[in-house]
């Protein structure tokens, strides 16, 4: 509950002493409040003093610029060779997509980023925005596959790099999310059949490593299919990801559901709301808000886990970076390659994390109990 404390007494309010507020007080209270914190602060400063100069000299001072020839890099290894990144940029980002057509995956990335950014705004949380997403996905399919609108056809075995990573995670999460809500509700259902199926599914998937699920999807699934029927490798990986993410997200949502007090269910029941109405209007909005931190945790790890598709021969962002390193001319610049894609992963994850923090605060702002 918000409290507005108003001092109406006869003594005037005074400013707090310098030991309570201000930078000196902050340093004292946060960095040197106990002897072991003081020790920790000093050791960390010492450690930074040791690390930062070396790091800076490799990253910047001794580094070879984006246009430095490879011979220059080979002559002096004391600095990073950023020309590796500029040389291999298009391959890392777009993989083996035909070189002259690479504006198509670039546009795909931009469409996805645009849609995701718009989805962050609560004003777009309306049913019609689903249609916008559907349109966006149709456009992306047209761009990536081609074969329509005069675009040449590109087989999806040639897809790679960042678009692949984004497609696998966005489509995966978008399909897994509604599935996970149903699974979480199913797990808490009073109907024994539904409950048993949900529990069995969640526990089965959670007990299996993602890698083995991917292997099963790529190696075992074809064995079960009738002769002549083949399912595309990308689709199989996508399905494995959806199955996997749904189980984990269901558990995050179940945590949220369990945090809703019984009184909320009773009040909804008492007003005559049926099960689905009660869930949609009362329980889920609150449960999902509570489940944001564990959900985003799942989103972030899931986004990075898409890099495991490399084991079934798909070239996502990590895969293309590794492939770029096999070029004999540029062999050996591991640090630059991994730093670069690490930075791309980090930017995405950082924005997810920041957005979730903002959303959590926004949803909680008005409803402090």
């Amino acid at each position: 509950m918000t409290e507005n404390v108003q001092h109406a007494g006869s003594l005037p309010d005074e400013r707090p002493p310098i030991t309570v507020v201000g930078p000196i007080a902050w340093v004292r209270n946060n960095l040197f409040n106990t002897w072991y914190n003081a020790l920790l602060t000093i050791s960390i400063i010492w450690l930074l003093y040791k690390i930062i100069p070396g790091l800076l000299s490799w990253l910047v001072i001794n580094a070879h610029g984006f246009s430095a020839p490879v011979q220059e890099c080979r002559a002096d290894y004391s600095g990073a060779c950023w020309s590796f990144v500029s040389e291999k940029l298009r391959f890392i980002l777009f993989g083996t997509f035909p070189y002259d057509e690479q504006w198509r995956p670039l546009l795909t990335i931009m469409i996805f980023i645009g849609l995701l950014a718009a989805s962050c705004d609560k004003r777009f949380w309306k049913p019609w925005f689903l249609a916008v997403w559907a349109g966006g996905l149709a456009l992306v399919s047209a761009l990536m596959w081609g074969g329509v609108l005069g675009l040449t056809y590109v087989e999806n075995s040639l897809w790679g790099g960042l678009p692949l990573t984004i497609i696998l995670s966005v489509v995966g999460l978008a399909v897994a999310f509604p599935m996970s809500i149903l699974l979480a509700l199913g797990r808490r259902s009073n109907l024994p059949g539904i409950k048993a199926v949900s529990v069995a599914y969640i526990e089965l998937i959670r007990g299996v490593p993602l890698i083995s699920l991917l292997f099963m999807a790529s190696v075992m699934l074809p064995l079960f299919l009738p002769n002549g029927v083949t399912i595309d490798k990308l689709v199989r990986a996508q399905v494995a990801f959806i199955l996997f993410a749904a189980a984990y997200m269901a558990e995050a949502i179940r945590g949220g559901l369990q945090a809703i007090p019984k009184g909320q269910y009773e009040a909804a029941d008492g007003l005559g709301l049926g099960y689905w109405l009660k869930m949609r209007k009362i329980i889920l909005p609150q449960a999902l808000a509570i489940a944001i931190p564990p959900l985003v945790n799942t989103f972030i790890s899931f986004f990075k886990d898409t890099s495991l598709v490399i084991i079934i021969g798909l070239y996502d962002l990590l895969g293309t970076a590794k492939a770029a390193l096999t070029d004999p001319t540029w062999r050996g610049f591991y640090k630059e390659a991994y730093l670069f894609i690490g930075l791309i992963y980090w930017v995405f994850c950082f924005f997810m994390s920041k957005y979730s923090q903002w959303l959590e605060k926004d949803l909680n702002r008005a409803r402090r109990r």
């Binding site: 009773e266 007003l271 005559g272 049926g274 009362i282 949803l363 008005a366 109990r369």
Partner: protein, 259 residues
């Protein structure tokens, strides 16, 4: 004792009964929480249910809108018998408003949205109409100026008044109150009781579980005393307070009225 109960039940059984409980039993596991409850409530009747804690009084009124399930006997509300039939349960719940001890407002919705949600989605009222009705009831519980705030921004007494308005927006035929003032700070009890008294004056059928004996004296048509899952005694407030028939009632009254 058993004779008093059944005699009173006989006396109250009329054709205009809006709630009828016949031989209702309920168990929580092994614990026999309601024992042979016979109760008939006429339309427009105001009933206060009291008794020591654990006597089953909350359970009884929660059975009337099926928040709790009874295992034996019949409960008929507004002509509909409560069974496992979900459709019937929802029909009954539309006509029976309930006010809880802990308010149970929806914290993610504003006061106004709390009041309009069920009318819009359950009664299928147009939004504007539902909002007009909601404002009317919020006005009546004197909280209309807070309509766009969230429940968490209101005091306990204000929240409880909103909860009453929220129930009234469904135009219920019966209102159930489950210790509506027990969770409130003392200075807020009166504002909620005043709203309840005002509601009683409109002729609403009311069942209140409460320890507010002043409310019982001034408003109730009938006071029901429960102990250990049974209806021990039911009578007019005058008779109940001045001339209790059973020893258990006398003991209970001496405990709550002594201070």
């Amino acid at each position: 004792m058993a004779t008093t109960t059944s005699a009173a039940a006989q006396r109250q059984t009329g054709t205009d009964a809006i709630i009828q409980c016949v031989g209702v039993h309920k168990w929580y596991g092994e614990f026999h929480v309601l024992k042979d409850i016979n109760l008939s409530v006429r339309k427009g009747e105001r009933i206060v249910v009291c008794g020591p804690s654990g006597s089953g009084k909350s359970t009884l009124i929660r059975c009337i809108n099926r928040l709790e399930e009874h295992q034996r006997g019949q409960i008929i509300v507004d002509g509909i018998e409560l069974t496992n039939n979900l459709k019937n349960i929802e029909l009954v719940r539309r006509e029976v408003g309930m006010v809880f001890q802990h308010f149970n407002l929806f914290p993610h919705l504003t006061v106004l949205e709390n009041c309009t949600l069920a009318p819009i989605w359950v009664r299928r009222q147009p939004k504007a109409e539902a909002e007009a009705t909601a404002m009317k009831y919020l006005e009546r519980v004197q909280i209309a100026s807070q309509a766009n705030k969230f429940p968490g921004q209101l005091s306990g007494g204000q929240q409880q008044r909103v909860a009453i308005a929220r129930s009234l927006c469904m135009s219920p035929k019966i209102m159930l109150f489950d210790e509506p003032t027990s969770a409130l700070d003392p200075e807020m009890v009166k504002e909620v009781l005043d709203v309840m008294i005002g509601l009683a004056e409109t002729g609403m059928t009311m069942l209140c579980v409460t320890h507010e004996m002043g409310f019982a004296k001034s408003v109730a048509d009938r006071v029901i005393f429960m102990d250990r899952g049974e209806i021990v005694e039911q009578n007019t407030p005058d008779e109940f307070f001045t001339n209790p028939r059973s020893e258990r009632t006398r003991l209970f009254l001496s405990q709550i009225l002594s201070h």
